[in-house]
């Protein structure tokens, strides 16, 4: 074994000692396989390979049969929780492919010549002559172009090509509105507003029925939405659907929890935000925005299933564990004339994950809700 040394590197990094303790004994002698020397063995291998290919054709036909004989649709749970069609199609296709593959490899191993060959390597670099010729050609080309002699042409070309980046970037401007443009498009739009308004009812998230404060027991948790998500003729909220609905839901979702009123430690300036131990918080995690849902009744802790941020709902939704950096925004609650829960206002701070432009105000600095 010798080390390859090339060009200017040669000699710079010579091995400490060039002698080898054991000389390379050279390639071991080729040994014949049974199929090389025994015609019967060879014919047997040939039959094996042909049988595999033959079986593969059978499976290919079976695939077609299965395609037309098994139903999809309602029969989806027939075998192993998957449809009979899926299993039959997959196994017949799989067997056909596997048999072809194994057959070809068996052919290569048993019947094709198995003499190892030796090929010489070449260095990755080109020969010195080629390098010199290429450099000369490069020099000649550059010289003839005059790129070095005419800096005005060169520099203005570089500048113009660099500036082509501007159209390439600007072209994507209309991918979406800027955050401030989005915020200007409506009273509920943007990162800082939601669809919650003063005196809007808090309703159950699937059926949209309002929640009577008296109906909640201590320990209850209700996933809720603003009533505007469920417009009816009765409540008079405007139609909302499609993107608008999804955006509204993704910001306005809340959890309503009733606990022993003595357990609630109201945040500074939040003394009247709860109703008889009923508190309401944004359901959107302040970490990266997953909807939070796992509530532990005895500790009043709410845990996010995505990254396990845990918030104390008795204590203004402060973070007690996990990667979230901020408390959950609290929705100030009140009760309307009919005894249903309503919001006193929108959230007093942006819901969801943190972002650069977010102006953080701690609890107590946020002041009273706009009543």
């Amino acid at each position: 074994m010798t080390d390859i040394q090339h060009g200017e590197q040669a000699g710079k990094h010579l091995p400490a000692t060039t002698e080898e303790p054991i000389a390379n004994p050279g390639l071991p002698e080729h040994t014949w396989r049974p199929t090389d020397v025994d015609d019967d063995a060879a014919r047997r291998a040939e039959r094996q390979v042909a049988t595999m290919f033959g079986l593969a054709s059978v499976f290919a036909v079976l695939f077609v049969v299965a395609y037309f004989s098994f139903d999809v649709g309602d029969s989806w749970e027939t075998v192993l929780g998957l449809g009979a069609s899926n299993i039959a199609l997959g196994t017949t296709l799989g067997m056909a492919l596997l048999l072809i593959g194994v057959g070809i490899i068996q052919w290569a191993r048993k019947l094709m010549a198995d003499h190892e060959m030796v090929e010489m390597r070449h260095p990755a670099r080109s020969s010195d002559e080629d390098r010199a010729a290429t450099l000369a050609a490069l020099d000649a080309g550059l010289e003839e172009s005059g790129i070095a002699r005419r800096p005005l042409v060169r520099n203005s070309l570089i500048a113009s090509i660099t500036l082509l980046l501007a159209p390439a970037v600007v072209l994507f401007r209309d991918l979406g509105p800027t955050p401030s443009q989005a915020a200007a498009s409506g009273p509920d739009a943007g990162l800082e507003n939601t669809i919650w308004k003063p005196d809007m009812r808090v309703v159950r998230d699937v059926i949209g029925t309002p929640i009577r404060a008296a109906d909640l027991e201590v320990g209850d948790l209700v996933n809720a939405e603003p009533e505007a998500i469920f417009p009816t003729e009765e409540n008079g909220y405007p139609e909302i659907e499609g993107v608008e609905l999804y955006v509204a839901k993704s910001k306005a979702a809340v959890v309503v929890v009733r606990m022993d009123p003595d357990d609630v430690i109201p945040g500074e300036g939040r003394d009247n935000w709860s109703v008889d131990g009923i508190v309401c918080y944004s359901k959107i995690c302040t970490h990266v925005g997953c909807p939070i849902s796992l509530y532990e009744r005895t500790t009043h802790h709410l845990l996010c299933p995505c990254h396990q941020s845990t918030f104390d709902l008795a204590d203004s939704g402060r973070v007690v564990f996990g990667p979230a950096g901020r408390h959950l925004p609290q929705l100030p609650l009140a009760v309307d004339a009919e005894g249903f829960l309503v919001a006193q206002s929108d959230f007093t701070e942006p819901v969801g994950p943190s972002y650069w432009e977010r102006d953080h105000k701690d609890i107590g600095e946020q002041g009273e809700a706009e009543l």
Binding site: M1, D3, I4, H6, K12, H13, P15, A16, E19, E20, P21, I22, P25, G26, V72, G73, D74, W76, L80, G81, L82, S85, N86, I87, L89, G90, T91, G94, A96, L97, L98, G101, I105, A108, M112, M117, V118, R121, G176, T178, E225, S250, V288, G289, C290, P291, S293, P305, H307, Q308, P323, G325, R326, P353, S354, Y355, W356, E357, D359, H360
Partner: protein
Amino acid sequence: MDTSKVATSNSSAATAKKPGKAGVVANWADERLGLGTAMKKNLRKVFPDHWSFMLGEIALWSFVVLLLTGVFLTFWYRPSMAEVTYMGSYDQLRGLHMSEAMASTLNISFDVRGGLLMRQMHHWAANIFIASMMIHLLRVYFTGAFRKPRELNWVIGSLLLLLGTLEGFTGYSLPDDLLSGTGIRAADGFMKSIPVVGTYMSFFLFGGEFPGDSIIPRLYTIHVLLIPGLLLGLIAAHMLLLVYHKHTQWPGPGRTEENVVGFPMLPVYAAKAGGFFFIVFGVTAMMGALLNINPVWKLGPYDPTKVTAGSQPDWYMGWPDGALRIMPGWETHLFGYTIAWNVFLPVIVLPGLMFTILLMLPFIESWITGDKRDHHLLERPRNAPTRTAIMVALMTFYGLMWAAGGNDIIAIKLNLSINQITYFLRVAVFLGPVIAFMITKRWCISLQRHDQEKLLHGYETGVIMRSPEGGYSERHLPIAPASAYTLTARDRDEMWTPEAETDENGVRRPGGRLSGLRARLNKAWYADNVQKPTAAELEEAHHHAEHEHELQAPLEGHSADGHQFDGHHAVEGETLRGSH
């Protein structure tokens, strides 16, 4: 006169001169494409054989399976977030509002024959694609196959892994089910954590506020056009460089740095590789048939107010998710702006940093070792203890982060406190890799010593000899010459000696200031490595062994009474019990 085309007899001469069918095609093609010159060498190009060289092939073939099954899926899948009412066969979701993307995914799963099979094969093949790329990467690293002249192919391979991961993420987001929608929601949170431009990136990508109706069609274009195009180009470059450099090979009798020993492309390697394609395809089909994956119908359509417990991304996204989970909740609020370190550091900075380290590994190693030679013979992991230990440390880091990504599952299955797991991992991700590094390095060196023992003193025969004094020893016999050669077929480590910081004119050399650090790293890199014996040492050891054998020879097959042998004296003239 040219007589070659003139018949010399009336029998089969005309046909005998005719080239075979393959020859006719080759002739036709060569006259138009001139492939003869290029194919002359390449048709019988030699590829060395070893099971570990197959790992990259799995990645290649699973990519082909992805292309085939993916094209099938595009015929039915609709990348649209328009709200529709599902009216298909799956009655538990019938009548529900969902995006067209979700509805068409259900349609593929329940109403298109073979559709579920193709969906499941596509998802399994994606997992196999990424897993095999990772294992292939480990093989290349642990055997030193990334060294000059193959550094750029390492870089291309790393880019393939990165793009494959992104392709996987965009792919599993397309059904717009509850789990994937939660993933996109988290990705929105990740983007918003980027200082200054975060919200702009989010609003531009989503076409406004989350979730909007643009993200699915945009991810679709990225998934079926942009990234596959890049992957195809890079895979082509990866293969071309492989052919140009010729494959590395393990050292052994007859194998040198200057040759490559193996089977020719045509027929053996073409048959083996081609057959292997069918096997990868077949295994994927079997998995699609029998192993359920991503049952979106059980998760239901995406709803921004809902989430499932145990929400986790596909496994290859697990480690940054783990970093996100164990990160303390640090945020900085300054002058009305917010920097969310708790999100920005673990999912934006850390993956970028780790990927950069991965890309740079070949260059870092060659800078430290000063080795700029071409290498075509592979090294056993034990013979590069520091290199091996670095990757094991990185793997430990990855594994711990990955475990952190499943901290909720671990807590539930093993009945542990999630808080304690998280606190433990916060420390373990820093300590674990260091411990793994030290253990691996010492382990490699100890394996090197074992090899040295085998070379110098032979292998352990299992034959126990009792000495006259009553002591027991095991008989060692020399190993086979071919194995002995293979053990010595490796480089001796060479320390890099820093050049003077300034040249003869007192001018600082470029990089001279770093040479102190480089020398120290170089020393640490090779510290305690075992060097293969010199010819003299080997000779000496063999001589010693022969002497031992001579001493022991009279004991062969006999029991000795003992006292006439005190170990190393000549035994001529002594008699053994039973022989008199």
